[in-house]
């Protein structure tokens, strides 16, 4: 049984990899139908393997470590391509392959008729391979390979519409900003290596106790830098909203459900190191709490349907970080899973709206779509309720668990930040729903004519995701703190309920959470359904604050001013320095030699030639003429070189004998 599981583990990334190779090399030779069948079929097979592995791990509770081959071996640096599948990895594997499969199927409809159809699926499959390596690796380097791999695919897919300049810029920005985080991650890897002489998780965590508190803090903070980059947390969050230039299924898969949660995975995986450093933990918590609040405020005023969802993703990732920072690892993983369901649902429904409106993304030009595209409307509403945090839908359970943990562990400031963020989340999501689906239509006539419900191939995956968004929370995490997921992950993240709060307290906190969510809904209802004028009035009265939010606190402009422009100027300055100073010195030395050669020519003419009275003038003339093309000097150079050579040998000999 164990052998079979090992085999299944090895097979999980193989299917998408094969699809990448076949579609990537031969994709242009055959029809789109074969290409997409290969693509989603391979992910489907991976999902089946995952289910097989998962049931085995769940039944036996045994983690599997499988070595594929030795990759790098140099000195005491030995790195294998090897997998570790434990309950934590299983949780991510299910989300990645399961949600990934649904999004692949959806993409068949969404990308229909696009020019780069096969290219799209090749990149998507490559993403799956990378993401699987990321969560399955048994050491830091395999994690890093996957880490960079998903970054690459993100880059390629954001830049999918390559003839759009904005897409190309967004792609480069995503990669370069991520690289800043990656540099931090690399430092963390090297720190682990010099402290433990190994990079395998099991060996590192087994001797993690030897780590000095300072070193633990250093490693944890460097890891955090990496996580911040990948999960778009403050202050490296700016790439994610721009990443919405990619096709919508990409936004759903990479920039909502899977890749951006890699930072959370990394922190949970390394919780043994984080646990040693209270300072690093509080950094994680405050980065998360700060981002949750910060991104939510921006989400309040954005007008692009995908950008609202993007900021909401940044904000929700903040909740996950917050959870990690206060030690609620299971709750964070729980939120990763429910978020994957409802955010994928929201993005794909948004894609369905955009599809219906022939590419329109501005919510100011939507409205009244609820009866034109009824299925999409219902699905989007389910997603909205789930993220707003109303029971019994999925988002309520996971978000409430993080917030309750914060409160019962006396992180009141963090709880406050999370609560305000939750109010805003509920508000901006219902605002989005109202502006998109209710009220009078603000579409132009041409778009309105073409509004149509999406095909079944797109709606069915949405139905599955909607189902998961409704019951996922109950299945995974009910009752709170004692759900199935807690038991499953317990052996990995440890903990459990060491700080039991009273049932009354739990119920009270739940009630508060529900009130917050309803308040947000009510406010949105009032502003966008009952009295639309009030919203505009508020925007005018607080026009300063409104503009700051609309421009995302001018962070991009600030970074341009602080980093991008000085970088370019420094480049230009160094370019001048290189050409004028360094090369100037080189040319100066050249000129000196030239003078020396002229001098020797003069000497030759007036002393040697005259003295010996040789008829060498013709020769000299030729040399002077030849000098115009520089090569006439060569015999002089040669003479100087030989003379200098003997001099130098002499000098060094003398020195050596002294």
């Amino acid at each position: 049984m164990s052998d079979l599981t090992d085999l299944l583990i090895k097979l999980i990334p193989v299917f998408p990899l094969l699809a990448v190779l076949v579609n990537g090399l031969l994709g242009s030779r055959y029809s789109h139908d074969l290409a997409h069948r290969l693509a989603w079929g391979s992910v489907g097979l991976s999902f089946l393997c995952t289910v097989g592995v998962f049931t085995d791990v769940m039944r036996t509770g045994v983690s599997h470590e499988v070595i594929v081959y030795q990759w790098i071996f140099g000195g005491d640096l030995a790195i294998n391509l090897a997998y570790l599948v434990d309950p934590l990895t299983c949780a991510w594997l299910l989300v990645v392959t399961g949600v990934g499969f649904l999004i692949h199927v959806y993409s068949v409809g969404y990308m229909h008729g696009e020019a780069g159809f096969t290219r799209f699926f090749t990149y998507m499959n490559l993403f799956m391979v990378s993401m699987l390596l990321l969560v399955m690796g048994n050491n830091y380097v395999v994690l890093f390979i996957g880490w960079e791999g998903v970054g690459l695919c993100s880059y390629l897919l954001i830049g999918y519409y390559y003839d759009k300049v904005s897409a190309a810029k967004a792609a480069s920005k995503a990669f370069v900003v991520n690289r800043i985080g990656d540099a931090g991650f690399l430092v963390a890897i090297f720190l682990v290596f010099i402290n433990f002489k190994t990079l395998d998780y099991t060996k590192v965590f087994a001797q993690v106790g030897q780590l000095s508190p300072d070193m633990a803090t250093a490693i944890a903070l460097c890891l955090l830098v990496g996580a911040i980059g990948k999960s778009a947390q403050l202050p490296l969050h700016t790439w994610l909203p721009d990443a919405m230039e990619g096709p919508t299924p990409v936004s759903a898969l990479i920039h909502a459900a899977t890749m951006v949660t890699a930072g959370v995975y990394m922190i949970v995986r390394n919780h043994a190191i984080f646990d040693l450093s209270p300072f690093a933990m509080s950094m994680v918590a405050f980065v998360g709490g700060g981002t949750a609040l910060f991104a939510a405020t921006i989400g309040l005023v954005q007008t692009d349907i995908k950008r609202v969802l993007a900021y909401s993703t940044v904000s929700q990732l903040g909740y996950m970080f917050l959870g990690c920072g206060i030690g609620a690892y299971t709750a964070s993983v729980f939120h990763v899973m429910t978020h994957a369901f409802f955010k994928a649902l929201l993005f794909l429904s948004a894609g369905s709206v955009i599809h219906a409106l022939s590419g329109e993304q501005d919510i100011r030009k939507m409205g009244g779509l609820s009866n034109r595209i009824p299925w999409t409307h219902r699905l989007f509403l389910i997603g909205t309720i789930a993220i707003a945090g109303l029971p019994p839908l999925a988002g309520f359970w996971s978000k409430d668990e993080i917030m309750a943990h914060a409160f019962t562990h006396h992180h009141y400031l963090l709880y406050g930040m999370a609560a305000v963020g939750a109010l805003m989340t509920s508000f901006y999501m219902f605002r989005l729903t109202y502006l998109t689906f209710y009220g009078a239509s603000r579409m132009d006539a041409h778009t309105a004519e073409h509004v149509h419900e999406s095909p079944m191939v797109m709606v069915v995956p949405l139905l599955v995701l909607a189902f998961l968004s409704i019951v996922g929370g109950l299945i995974l995490g009910f009752p709170p703190e004692h759900g199935w997921l807690h038991g499953f992950l317990g052996p990995v993240v440890g903990g459990g309920a060491e700080h039991e709060a009273g049932t009354g307290m739990v119920i009270l906190l739940m009630c508060i959470a529900i009130v917050i969510a309803l308040l947000g809904w009510g406010l949105a209802h009032f502003l966008y359904a009952v009295s639309p004028m009030t919203a505009e009035g508020w925007a005018e009265r607080f026009s300063g604050a409104y503009r700051v939010l609309l421009n995302k606190y001018y962070v991009d402009e600030l970074y341009d001013l602080l980093f991008v422009e000085p970088l370019k100027r420094l480049g230009a300055m160094l370019d001048w320095f290189d050409r004028t100073i360094i090369d100037g010195i080189v040319r100066g030395v050249g000129r000196l030699t030239d003078w020396g050669a002229s001098g020797s020519t003069w000497m030759e003419k007036h002393i040697v030639y005259a003295g010996l009275n040789v008829i060498g003038y013709g020769n000299h003339l030729a040399a002077r003429e030849g000098r115009k093309i520089q090569s006439g000097m060569v015999h002089h150079y040669a003479a100087i070189i030989v003379a200098g050579l003997f001099l130098l040998v002499l000098i060094v000999q003398l020195f050596a004998q002294m």
């Binding site: 000195g75 640096l77 880059y155 390559y162 370069v176 690289r179 970088l567 480049g571 040998v649 020195f655």
Partner: protein, 528 residues
Amino acid sequence: MTGFPWLTVLVVLPLAGAIAVFAANERSIKVTALAVAVANLLISLPLWWLFDASSGEMQFVESARWIPSLSINYRLGLDGISLPLVLMTTVLMPLCILISWHSIEIRMRSFMAMLLIMESAMIGVFTALDFVLFYVFWEAMLIPMYLLIGIWGGPNRLYAAIKFLLYTLAGSVLLLVAILVLYFQGGQTFDILQLSQGTYSHSLQFWLFLAFFAAFAVKVPMFPFHTWLPDAHVEAPTAGSVILASVLLKMGTYGFLRFSLPMLPDASQAFTPVMVVLSIVAIIYGAYMALAQSDLKKLIAYSSVSHMGFVTLGLFMFNIQGIEGAVMQMVNHGITTGGLFLCVGMIYERTHSRQIADNTGLTKPMPRYATFLVIFSLSSLGLPGTNSFVGEFMILAGAFLWSKIATAFALLGIILAAAYLLWMVQRVAFGVPDPHILPKLRDVNLREMITVVPLVVLIFVIGIFPNPILTRMHPSVEKVIARVFPPAAEHASVIPRMTPFTPSVERITAPTGPMFSQETKTASEGRP
């Protein structure tokens, strides 16, 4: 070994090929040259399997007396360090010939002959075991390269060619001085292996290191001796650029590894802080410079300065990771930067411009070309799964053992590499092409495919299976490290750590005092 003179054949065959090219009739020039280069590649391939990976000794050694009165011998050999470099050279040469198929308009005969003479000299440099023989090959490379730039180069070719020649010649002269001094100090021999076993006084090592440094640092090129490189690259024809970047630059780092480290271990240690600082300056400076360029060739030339900074950084770490990473990176840079120059050559053939601004939006009209460009760029910026990641990761791991601050600066180079390469890709591959150039933009043809596909394959094969190269390298690299840190003096597995930066200045200036006193002793001992 097997008795077959593998290395002599590898050195002589291209030379004979050059003669054959001169003798061939007009129509068969290119085919002859290509056949010779491919034959050389095929002959070199078995060495990979015949090579005994468990041994750090020279293999396939051939020896013959040359000038007995001065004990100069013809000796060739191959170890784990030179093997990958020789193979890289033989793989690249057919590609260089193929990419020049149509782009060379004048004197095709001489051009092909020069390429083949280059190949002889380059393989000679990597395999020579006699210092005089080495120097002959070393200088022999200059002339064909000078002519490649000076005859077949761009508008400013004469300036670039002279600059290249004089610059490298100046360094070579000092190398010759060092060789002669070593001959007299090391027991009247030019045998490289024997010289690598000798011990030399500290002061002698100090001066010899400087002389070696002059020759090798110019070739690498290390900051601030790099300004010949952009000029030479911009003016050189594509094949010239590829040879220059892929093989010639490696001569410098190979020299450091083959001569400076084992022959002058104490000086190498003493100079480490200088070398590290220069390497890191090169990494960051080269990256910034690349960011500022609007000419594709200049951009890649400066990226070479940056990448070679990683190699010199790794070499002077004196640990397995650093040195093996450095050798890996020498090979990787050859493959990847060679590929990038091939890409620039292809686009120049079409639009007759190397300016980024003139070549935009190439993905739509030339999808295959864009794919190759992106793959080479990603390899160049060290993406995991490609070859460069392995080398850079090992170098950085090795550097981290030595100094965390140094590594932090080097990491800045990695971020900048992503910035300048992706910015280049963004401008060249993405966007919409200028309608004027659109008719010229036909996609990569079969001949061009053949020139780049082998490199792409190597990028991934080395990236995914680096171990076969590493295992062949281990014993040879361990031997070098054992020279710098004799095993007896080594404390357990701890890699000797040097105090970075501030005290380092003392380390270099300090020898002047004790060095001279010490040297009197050693020198008097050494005298016959």
